[in-house]
């Protein structure tokens, strides 16, 4: 049974090796490209991304590399211009969810098993987050966006809020794990204060999983934004945003005019995978 015994150990062995410079290229290159496009966007776009420049639904051509969409806007210019907006949505959402999530997760994780007021508050918060998480994100997003109005900022904040429970749960699990570990026991025995414990041991230990999860949140936030666009509560046209573009082009795509949806969809997929790879390579614990 030797064949069975070697493979399981082989996988971790290759993974544990630190990434060399050769394997850095596929991970870092798309990110650099994305940031460049986001920064230089207006310079790269051949047309104004918000002006009608041709007849609608034109297939890709030499004038319009990615064709034109249902409004007659240039898809290529819009894919470029949307990069900045989508990075904003994803990053703000990930940042917001992480900041709140880490705070809440640390609090609940450290206090949950205690008695008294902090203990019950922490348990209550955990339950509350479970409840919030129990609701379909898309429906809560629908309600919140309907209320707050639709612009880049509210969309980012709503997507971030939706992801707080996930992040808090990751941190809480990590804190609970760290608490059980022996070195904390010894730190406690050596007389370190609760706050010191929290800052010096739990925060750093739970940071990596939270950061890795943040990259996942980035992707989910952008796709949730797209789903909201599909249900008719995305950013108002003609704001360039991949999700709204995909949603606007969805009907055209089902009639065979695939270009106005496909290109933003590819951009979205590349971005999400790029962030996910980054997390996979650099942000993983061990």
């Amino acid at each position: 049974m030797t064949t069975a015994t070697t493979p399981p150990t082989a996988a971790p062995a290759t993974r544990r090796r630190l990434p060399g410079s050769a394997s850095m290229v596929p991970v870092v290159a798309p990110l650099v490209l994305l940031l460049l496009v986001a920064a230089l966007g207006p310079l790269l776009a051949p047309y104004s991304p918000i002006d009608v420049v041709a007849a609608p639904d034109q297939p890709p051509s030499t004038q319009h590399w990615f064709g034109t969409d249902i409004y007659g806007l240039d898809v290529f210019s819009r894919v470029i211009a949307a990069t900045r907006n989508d990075l904003v949505v994803g990053l703000v959402a990930a940042l917001l969810a992480t900041v709140i999530g880490v705070g809440v997760g640390l609090f609940t994780g450290t206090n949950e098993s205690r008695g008294g007021v902090p203990g019950s508050v922490a348990r209550g918060v955990t339950r509350g987050l479970d409840l919030f998480d129990a609701l379909p994100q898309i429906v809560v997003g629908l309600v919140l966006l309907a209320f707050f109005g639709r612009n880049l900022l509210t969309l980012s904040v709503v997507c971030g809020l939706l992801m707080v429970p996930t992040q808090a749960r990751v941190v809480r699990t990590e804190v609970l794990r760290v608490r059980r570990e022996a070195y904390l026991e010894s730190a406690r025995l050596s007389g370190e204060s609760e706050r010191g414990l929290l800052l010096r041991h739990m925060l750093p230990n739970s940071t990596w999983p939270a950061l890795e999860n943040a990259s996942y949140i980035f992707g989910v936030a952008v796709t949730v934004a797209a789903g909201l666009g599909f249900l008719g509560v995305g950013l108002p046209p003609p704001t360039p945003e991949w999700g709204a573009m995909i949603a606007d082009g969805a009907t055209a795509a089902s009639a065979g005019r695939w270009w106005s949806s496909l290109f933003p969809c590819l951009a979205l997929a590349v971005t999400v995978i790029a962030f996910s790879n980054l997390a996979h390579q650099y942000l993983r614990r061990r």
């Binding site: 290759t14 098993s113 609701l135 599909f230 969805a250 795509a253 979205l268």
Partner: protein
Amino acid sequence: MIARLWRSQRWWIQRVALLPVHLFLFAIAVFFLVRLIPGDPVLIIAGSDDLTADQYERIEVLLGLSGSLWHQLMVFLGRVVTLDLGRSLIDGQDVQEQIAWRLPATIEIALIAMVIAIAVTLLLCIFAMLHPHNPVARFAAFYARSAGAIPDFVLGVAGILVFYTVLGWAAAPTGRYDAGLRPAPRTTGFPFLDALLSSDTVLLSSMLAHLWLPVLVLVVGSAPTIMKVLQRSIEHAVDDEATLFRIASGVPRHVVIVSVLRRASPTMVTMCGQLFGFLLGGAVIIEQLFAIPGMGQYAVQAVGRADFLALQAFLLTVAACVLVVFLIVDLVNMTLDPRRRPGVMVEGNA
């Protein structure tokens, strides 16, 4: 004696007893959340016709929207406690009746998708564990990392385009079965199960033709997320000293696999709970796209029409379902691993 029984059984009794309390608190939160929706239901009822001030007031009273917010809240909570969700503001339909037939329909699809998704990912993960260098395994790893890269509705639209419009393998995205067929007699309330139970082969084959594509879309959409979690926990289990010991002592391959799976099982159970919630949400878009009447369609309609009562009922019902699933998950996990029971940690730290 009773005290001892209480102490030994408290972990689950407490957990079960708290469920209605949680739901009640949640109902209050839902009440306020739903009031955030802009739009005046009275005007929506009126359509584009003019209303006199007097008529406006009469409709407002009729809809239960008159009086202070506090008063409305009390009325609502009273209804929740007596399990009477009222009639929809907009279409006059009994909310409970609507949910009674829509909920099983949605749960059914979510469950089918969940079982298939878990089975497929589990097989893929085990395969990847055994043959990490196989292209299929590499693809699985890449696929797991692409979680969230493609929105659900894109998968749905692409699925309809490829499998319906171009290939003609799937039936039209017009509902659960062909228009004109009569539904199966209601035995369980779950449409597919009812069709299975009836001897109606026409209906059943029509349902299979209509449902395989939406289920596939849900599976493909949710698989990366599950795979991500599953791969992680399987890796942990593989790295565990107990597993390494088993491998070192040369026990048969299937024993190692079983042991790894047993170690990964609490994570898997927890994940099932989350996945269920995720699929209920995913159903919103799938139901819209494939015209499958269910809870998701109901919610989208309710938001569009500012139908407070319907939306409240939707949120409460879904939360209740997911909470029950979470409860089962917790109880199963506590049964599998008694260290997870509340109170255990307290004693350990005291």
